[in-house]
Symmetry: C3
Subunit: 134 residues, 3 copies
Protein backbone atom coordinates (compact mmCIF):
# COMPACT_ATOMS: atom_id res chain seq x y z
CA UNK A 1 0.00 0.00 0.00
CA UNK A 2 1.15 3.53 -0.71
CA UNK A 3 1.30 6.56 1.55
CA UNK A 4 1.51 9.97 -0.09
CA UNK A 5 3.42 12.72 1.71
CA UNK A 6 3.43 16.37 0.75
CA UNK A 7 6.33 18.33 2.22
CA UNK A 8 6.41 22.11 2.58
CA UNK A 9 10.04 22.85 3.48
CA UNK A 10 13.50 22.04 2.14
CA UNK A 11 14.39 20.01 5.25
CA UNK A 12 11.49 18.66 7.28
CA UNK A 13 10.50 15.72 9.46
CA UNK A 14 6.84 14.71 8.97
CA UNK A 15 5.14 12.43 11.51
CA UNK A 16 3.54 9.61 9.46
CA UNK A 17 2.73 7.25 12.37
CA UNK A 18 -1.04 7.60 11.87
CA UNK A 19 -0.79 6.97 8.10
CA UNK A 20 1.29 3.84 8.68
CA UNK A 21 -1.17 2.58 11.33
CA UNK A 22 -4.03 2.98 8.85
CA UNK A 23 -2.28 0.74 6.30
CA UNK A 24 -1.60 -1.83 9.06
CA UNK A 25 -5.31 -1.82 9.93
CA UNK A 26 -6.24 -2.29 6.25
CA UNK A 27 -3.72 -5.14 5.87
CA UNK A 28 -5.51 -7.32 8.45
CA UNK A 29 -2.15 -8.49 9.84
CA UNK A 30 -2.50 -9.25 13.57
CA UNK A 31 1.04 -10.03 14.66
CA UNK A 32 4.10 -9.52 12.54
CA UNK A 33 6.17 -6.79 10.99
CA UNK A 34 5.34 -3.60 9.14
CA UNK A 35 7.89 -2.43 6.57
CA UNK A 36 7.96 1.12 5.31
CA UNK A 37 10.08 1.86 2.24
CA UNK A 38 10.77 5.40 1.06
CA UNK A 39 10.98 5.46 -2.74
CA UNK A 40 13.38 8.43 -2.99
CA UNK A 41 17.12 9.11 -2.79
CA UNK A 42 16.97 12.55 -1.17
CA UNK A 43 14.57 11.55 1.59
CA UNK A 44 14.60 8.99 4.39
CA UNK A 45 12.81 7.61 7.40
CA UNK A 46 13.57 7.60 11.11
CA UNK A 47 11.85 6.78 14.38
CA UNK A 48 12.33 9.33 17.13
CA UNK A 49 10.57 11.36 19.82
CA UNK A 50 6.96 12.37 19.19
CA UNK A 51 6.47 14.57 22.27
CA UNK A 52 8.64 17.70 22.21
CA UNK A 53 8.72 19.09 18.63
CA UNK A 54 12.15 20.58 19.40
CA UNK A 55 13.64 17.07 19.13
CA UNK A 56 13.03 16.74 15.38
CA UNK A 57 14.07 20.38 14.95
CA UNK A 58 17.37 19.62 16.73
CA UNK A 59 17.89 16.48 14.62
CA UNK A 60 17.65 18.56 11.42
CA UNK A 61 20.04 21.15 12.90
CA UNK A 62 22.52 18.41 13.82
CA UNK A 63 22.33 16.80 10.36
CA UNK A 64 23.14 20.19 8.80
CA UNK A 65 26.19 20.39 11.07
CA UNK A 66 27.30 16.80 10.37
CA UNK A 67 26.88 16.80 6.58
CA UNK A 68 28.90 19.74 5.23
CA UNK A 69 28.33 21.05 1.69
CA UNK A 70 31.87 20.18 0.55
CA UNK A 71 33.59 22.14 -2.20
CA UNK A 72 34.72 18.79 -3.68
CA UNK A 73 31.17 17.61 -4.43
CA UNK A 74 30.61 17.02 -8.16
CA UNK A 75 26.95 15.87 -8.47
CA UNK A 76 25.51 18.28 -11.04
CA UNK A 77 22.20 18.76 -9.21
CA UNK A 78 24.01 20.35 -6.24
CA UNK A 79 22.02 18.39 -3.66
CA UNK A 80 24.67 15.90 -2.51
CA UNK A 81 24.05 16.71 1.16
CA UNK A 82 20.46 15.49 0.71
CA UNK A 83 21.70 12.18 -0.71
CA UNK A 84 24.14 11.73 2.20
CA UNK A 85 21.45 12.52 4.80
CA UNK A 86 19.18 9.98 3.07
CA UNK A 87 21.82 7.26 3.47
CA UNK A 88 22.53 8.25 7.10
CA UNK A 89 18.85 8.02 8.12
CA UNK A 90 18.15 5.08 5.81
CA UNK A 91 15.10 4.63 3.62
CA UNK A 92 13.30 1.78 5.32
CA UNK A 93 11.88 1.05 8.74
CA UNK A 94 10.55 -2.19 10.22
CA UNK A 95 8.13 -1.96 13.13
CA UNK A 96 6.55 -4.85 15.06
CA UNK A 97 2.76 -5.32 14.82
CA UNK A 98 0.92 -6.68 17.86
CA UNK A 99 -2.83 -7.27 17.85
CA UNK A 100 -3.14 -5.13 14.72
CA UNK A 101 -1.34 -2.16 16.25
CA UNK A 102 2.15 -0.77 15.58
CA UNK A 103 4.21 -1.73 18.61
CA UNK A 104 6.16 1.45 19.28
CA UNK A 105 7.80 2.72 22.46
CA UNK A 106 5.91 5.36 24.45
CA UNK A 107 7.82 8.27 22.93
CA UNK A 108 8.37 6.83 19.44
CA UNK A 109 6.89 8.33 16.29
CA UNK A 110 7.66 7.39 12.66
CA UNK A 111 9.03 10.33 10.69
CA UNK A 112 9.35 10.83 6.96
CA UNK A 113 12.58 12.81 6.42
CA UNK A 114 12.52 15.38 3.63
CA UNK A 115 15.98 16.63 2.66
CA UNK A 116 15.29 18.24 -0.74
CA UNK A 117 11.78 19.66 -0.63
CA UNK A 118 9.21 20.85 -0.88
CA UNK A 119 8.02 17.89 -2.96
CA UNK A 120 5.32 15.25 -3.36
CA UNK A 121 6.71 12.01 -1.95
CA UNK A 122 5.59 8.42 -1.48
CA UNK A 123 6.26 5.52 0.86
CA UNK A 124 5.35 1.85 0.33
CA UNK A 125 4.07 -0.18 3.28
CA UNK A 126 4.19 -4.00 3.41
CA UNK A 127 2.88 -6.02 6.35
CA UNK A 128 4.01 -9.59 6.98
CA UNK A 129 2.31 -11.96 9.43
CA UNK A 130 4.44 -13.73 12.04
CA UNK A 131 3.15 -17.25 11.34
CA UNK A 132 4.97 -19.12 14.07
CA UNK A 133 2.60 -17.62 16.63
CA UNK A 134 -0.48 -19.14 15.08
CA UNK B 1 9.34 -11.50 22.92
CA UNK B 2 11.06 -8.93 25.09
CA UNK B 3 14.70 -8.58 26.04
CA UNK B 4 15.55 -6.46 29.08
CA UNK B 5 18.81 -4.56 29.09
CA UNK B 6 20.32 -2.79 32.06
CA UNK B 7 22.94 -0.22 31.16
CA UNK B 8 25.55 1.15 33.56
CA UNK B 9 27.05 4.10 31.66
CA UNK B 10 25.84 7.22 29.88
CA UNK B 11 27.12 5.96 26.51
CA UNK B 12 27.60 2.21 26.19
CA UNK B 13 27.41 -0.61 23.64
CA UNK B 14 26.06 -3.84 25.15
CA UNK B 15 26.49 -7.14 23.29
CA UNK B 16 22.99 -8.73 23.17
CA UNK B 17 23.73 -11.45 20.60
CA UNK B 18 23.19 -14.26 23.12
CA UNK B 19 19.88 -12.79 24.35
CA UNK B 20 18.62 -12.46 20.76
CA UNK B 21 19.68 -16.05 19.96
CA UNK B 22 17.71 -17.29 22.97
CA UNK B 23 14.50 -15.66 21.67
CA UNK B 24 15.14 -17.17 18.22
CA UNK B 25 15.46 -20.61 19.82
CA UNK B 26 12.21 -20.11 21.74
CA UNK B 27 10.41 -18.92 18.58
CA UNK B 28 10.92 -22.26 16.81
CA UNK B 29 11.61 -20.47 13.53
CA UNK B 30 14.05 -22.53 11.42
CA UNK B 31 14.74 -20.31 8.43
CA UNK B 32 13.70 -16.71 8.13
CA UNK B 33 14.36 -13.33 9.65
CA UNK B 34 14.79 -12.10 13.20
CA UNK B 35 13.75 -8.47 13.86
CA UNK B 36 14.95 -6.56 16.88
CA UNK B 37 13.21 -3.30 17.69
CA UNK B 38 14.53 -0.92 20.34
CA UNK B 39 11.61 0.81 22.07
CA UNK B 40 13.46 4.03 22.95
CA UNK B 41 14.41 7.33 21.30
CA UNK B 42 17.79 7.86 23.00
CA UNK B 43 19.10 4.36 22.29
CA UNK B 44 19.71 2.30 19.16
CA UNK B 45 21.07 -0.93 17.74
CA UNK B 46 24.03 -1.78 15.56
CA UNK B 47 25.92 -4.83 14.37
CA UNK B 48 29.68 -4.57 14.58
CA UNK B 49 32.87 -6.33 15.67
CA UNK B 50 32.65 -8.73 18.60
CA UNK B 51 36.37 -9.54 18.92
CA UNK B 52 38.44 -6.51 19.94
CA UNK B 53 36.50 -4.48 22.57
CA UNK B 54 38.35 -1.37 21.38
CA UNK B 55 36.14 -1.34 18.28
CA UNK B 56 32.94 -0.49 20.15
CA UNK B 57 34.93 1.94 22.34
CA UNK B 58 36.19 3.69 19.17
CA UNK B 59 32.65 3.79 17.71
CA UNK B 60 31.40 5.65 20.80
CA UNK B 61 34.37 8.04 20.61
CA UNK B 62 33.66 8.69 16.93
CA UNK B 63 29.94 9.32 17.54
CA UNK B 64 30.89 11.90 20.21
CA UNK B 65 33.08 13.62 17.63
CA UNK B 66 30.44 13.47 14.86
CA UNK B 67 27.43 14.63 16.89
CA UNK B 68 28.38 17.97 18.48
CA UNK B 69 26.36 19.41 21.36
CA UNK B 70 25.27 22.49 19.39
CA UNK B 71 24.49 25.77 21.12
CA UNK B 72 21.41 26.04 18.90
CA UNK B 73 19.74 22.94 20.37
CA UNK B 74 16.39 23.73 22.03
CA UNK B 75 15.08 20.38 23.38
CA UNK B 76 14.42 21.11 27.04
CA UNK B 77 15.82 17.79 28.30
CA UNK B 78 19.29 18.71 27.00
CA UNK B 79 19.92 15.27 25.48
CA UNK B 80 19.53 16.09 21.79
CA UNK B 81 22.85 14.42 20.94
CA UNK B 82 21.40 11.12 22.26
CA UNK B 83 18.36 11.49 19.96
CA UNK B 84 20.61 12.18 16.95
CA UNK B 85 22.87 9.20 17.71
CA UNK B 86 19.74 7.03 18.00
CA UNK B 87 18.63 8.06 14.49
CA UNK B 88 22.15 7.57 13.08
CA UNK B 89 22.46 4.00 14.42
CA UNK B 90 18.77 3.22 13.86
CA UNK B 91 16.47 1.39 16.23
CA UNK B 92 15.88 -1.86 14.42
CA UNK B 93 17.98 -4.71 13.05
CA UNK B 94 17.02 -7.63 10.83
CA UNK B 95 19.21 -10.73 10.93
CA UNK B 96 18.78 -13.91 8.85
CA UNK B 97 17.95 -17.15 10.70
CA UNK B 98 19.31 -20.41 9.30
CA UNK B 99 18.58 -23.77 10.92
CA UNK B 100 17.40 -21.98 14.05
CA UNK B 101 20.60 -19.95 14.42
CA UNK B 102 21.26 -16.25 13.82
CA UNK B 103 23.27 -16.12 10.59
CA UNK B 104 25.93 -13.55 11.44
CA UNK B 105 29.35 -12.98 9.91
CA UNK B 106 32.35 -14.35 11.82
CA UNK B 107 33.13 -11.05 13.54
CA UNK B 108 29.58 -9.74 13.88
CA UNK B 109 27.87 -9.16 17.22
CA UNK B 110 24.55 -7.41 17.89
CA UNK B 111 24.93 -4.36 20.12
CA UNK B 112 22.34 -2.40 22.06
CA UNK B 113 23.45 1.25 21.93
CA UNK B 114 22.84 3.29 25.09
CA UNK B 115 23.19 7.05 24.54
CA UNK B 116 21.44 8.44 27.64
CA UNK B 117 22.06 6.00 30.48
CA UNK B 118 22.34 4.41 32.81
CA UNK B 119 18.78 3.10 32.40
CA UNK B 120 16.59 0.03 32.22
CA UNK B 121 15.82 -0.60 28.55
CA UNK B 122 13.89 -3.08 26.45
CA UNK B 123 14.01 -4.56 22.95
CA UNK B 124 11.25 -6.49 21.16
CA UNK B 125 12.18 -9.51 19.04
CA UNK B 126 9.95 -10.89 16.28
CA UNK B 127 10.89 -13.94 14.18
CA UNK B 128 9.31 -14.60 10.78
CA UNK B 129 9.61 -17.89 8.88
CA UNK B 130 10.76 -17.82 5.26
CA UNK B 131 7.95 -19.95 3.85
CA UNK B 132 9.11 -20.22 0.27
CA UNK B 133 11.81 -22.67 1.36
CA UNK B 134 9.35 -25.18 2.69
CA UNK C 1 21.13 -17.28 -1.01
CA UNK C 2 24.58 -15.73 -1.18
CA UNK C 3 25.90 -12.93 -3.35
CA UNK C 4 29.66 -12.64 -3.78
CA UNK C 5 31.16 -9.19 -4.23
CA UNK C 6 34.73 -8.47 -5.21
CA UNK C 7 35.86 -4.94 -4.43
CA UNK C 8 38.83 -3.20 -6.06
CA UNK C 9 39.30 -0.09 -3.93
CA UNK C 10 39.69 0.82 -0.26
CA UNK C 11 36.40 2.75 -0.23
CA UNK C 12 33.89 1.87 -2.94
CA UNK C 13 30.15 1.66 -3.57
CA UNK C 14 29.22 -1.30 -5.80
CA UNK C 15 25.77 -1.46 -7.43
CA UNK C 16 24.37 -4.92 -6.58
CA UNK C 17 20.75 -4.30 -7.65
CA UNK C 18 20.93 -6.81 -10.50
CA UNK C 19 22.48 -9.53 -8.27
CA UNK C 20 19.75 -9.02 -5.65
CA UNK C 21 17.02 -9.16 -8.34
CA UNK C 22 18.43 -12.49 -9.55
CA UNK C 23 18.10 -14.02 -6.07
CA UNK C 24 14.53 -12.67 -5.83
CA UNK C 25 13.70 -14.34 -9.15
CA UNK C 26 15.21 -17.65 -7.94
CA UNK C 27 13.28 -17.44 -4.65
CA UNK C 28 9.87 -17.55 -6.42
CA UNK C 29 8.49 -14.97 -3.98
CA UNK C 30 5.81 -12.89 -5.74
CA UNK C 31 4.90 -10.26 -3.14
CA UNK C 32 6.79 -9.64 0.05
CA UNK C 33 10.11 -8.42 1.33
CA UNK C 34 13.69 -9.03 0.26
CA UNK C 35 16.32 -8.79 3.02
CA UNK C 36 19.98 -8.28 2.27
CA UNK C 37 22.47 -8.83 5.08
CA UNK C 38 26.13 -7.88 4.76
CA UNK C 39 28.25 -10.38 6.71
CA UNK C 40 31.10 -7.96 7.53
CA UNK C 41 31.93 -5.25 10.08
CA UNK C 42 33.91 -2.92 7.81
CA UNK C 43 31.33 -2.86 5.02
CA UNK C 44 27.69 -1.88 4.75
CA UNK C 45 24.72 -1.40 2.45
CA UNK C 46 22.78 1.63 1.29
CA UNK C 47 20.16 2.53 -1.28
CA UNK C 48 20.85 5.69 -3.23
CA UNK C 49 20.93 7.23 -6.72
CA UNK C 50 21.74 4.96 -9.65
CA UNK C 51 21.86 7.64 -12.38
CA UNK C 52 24.72 10.11 -11.88
CA UNK C 53 27.83 8.19 -10.67
CA UNK C 54 28.98 11.39 -8.95
CA UNK C 55 26.36 10.80 -6.25
CA UNK C 56 28.06 7.70 -4.83
CA UNK C 57 31.43 9.42 -5.25
CA UNK C 58 30.15 12.40 -3.22
CA UNK C 59 28.72 10.07 -0.54
CA UNK C 60 32.16 8.48 -0.04
CA UNK C 61 33.77 11.96 0.09
CA UNK C 62 31.23 13.08 2.68
CA UNK C 63 31.72 9.97 4.83
CA UNK C 64 35.49 10.66 4.84
CA UNK C 65 34.73 14.18 6.08
CA UNK C 66 32.22 13.02 8.71
CA UNK C 67 34.23 10.14 10.19
CA UNK C 68 37.60 11.55 11.23
CA UNK C 69 40.55 9.26 11.95
CA UNK C 70 40.79 10.30 15.61
CA UNK C 71 44.10 10.19 17.48
CA UNK C 72 42.23 8.61 20.39
CA UNK C 73 41.29 5.46 18.47
CA UNK C 74 42.75 2.29 20.04
CA UNK C 75 41.62 -0.60 17.77
CA UNK C 76 44.90 -2.35 16.88
CA UNK C 77 43.97 -2.93 13.24
CA UNK C 78 43.86 0.82 12.60
CA UNK C 79 40.63 0.67 10.60
CA UNK C 80 38.19 2.14 13.14
CA UNK C 81 36.82 4.62 10.59
CA UNK C 82 35.69 1.63 8.47
CA UNK C 83 33.82 0.16 11.46
CA UNK C 84 32.10 3.50 12.15
CA UNK C 85 31.09 3.95 8.51
CA UNK C 86 29.67 0.40 8.56
CA UNK C 87 27.46 1.27 11.53
CA UNK C 88 26.39 4.59 9.97
CA UNK C 89 25.28 2.96 6.69
CA UNK C 90 24.00 -0.19 8.41
CA UNK C 91 24.51 -3.75 7.24
CA UNK C 92 21.04 -4.76 6.18
CA UNK C 93 18.42 -3.54 3.73
CA UNK C 94 14.80 -4.54 3.27
CA UNK C 95 13.17 -3.92 -0.10
CA UNK C 96 9.55 -4.64 -1.11
CA UNK C 97 8.93 -7.30 -3.77
CA UNK C 98 5.96 -6.84 -6.11
CA UNK C 99 5.10 -9.38 -8.82
CA UNK C 100 8.53 -10.93 -8.41
CA UNK C 101 10.39 -7.65 -8.92
CA UNK C 102 12.23 -5.45 -6.43
CA UNK C 103 10.00 -2.43 -5.88
CA UNK C 104 12.50 0.44 -5.93
CA UNK C 105 12.00 4.11 -6.67
CA UNK C 106 12.94 5.32 -10.16
CA UNK C 107 16.39 6.52 -9.10
CA UNK C 108 17.13 3.91 -6.43
CA UNK C 109 19.93 1.38 -6.69
CA UNK C 110 21.19 -1.01 -3.99
CA UNK C 111 24.86 -0.42 -3.15
CA UNK C 112 27.32 -2.63 -1.31
CA UNK C 113 29.58 -0.27 0.67
CA UNK C 114 33.24 -1.26 0.93
CA UNK C 115 35.14 0.67 3.60
CA UNK C 116 38.26 -1.51 4.02
CA UNK C 117 39.02 -3.06 0.65
CA UNK C 118 39.92 -4.37 -1.72
CA UNK C 119 38.45 -7.65 -0.48
CA UNK C 120 36.21 -10.58 -1.34
CA UNK C 121 32.88 -9.98 0.38
CA UNK C 122 29.52 -11.68 0.70
CA UNK C 123 25.89 -10.75 1.27
CA UNK C 124 23.01 -13.04 2.27
CA UNK C 125 19.60 -12.58 0.68
CA UNK C 126 16.35 -13.85 2.25
CA UNK C 127 12.93 -13.38 0.63
CA UNK C 128 9.72 -13.59 2.65
CA UNK C 129 6.23 -13.84 1.11
CA UNK C 130 3.55 -11.38 2.25
CA UNK C 131 0.88 -13.97 2.98
CA UNK C 132 -1.98 -11.63 3.83
CA UNK C 133 -2.31 -10.80 0.14
CA UNK C 134 -3.10 -14.36 -0.87
Amino acid sequence: MQINISTSKNNQLVNITQDVQETVTKSDVSNGICFVHIAHTTAGITINENADPDVVRDILLSLDDIVKNLSGFRHYEGNSTAHVKSSLMGNSASIPIQNGKLQLGTWQGIYFCEFDGPRSRKAWVTCVEELNNQ
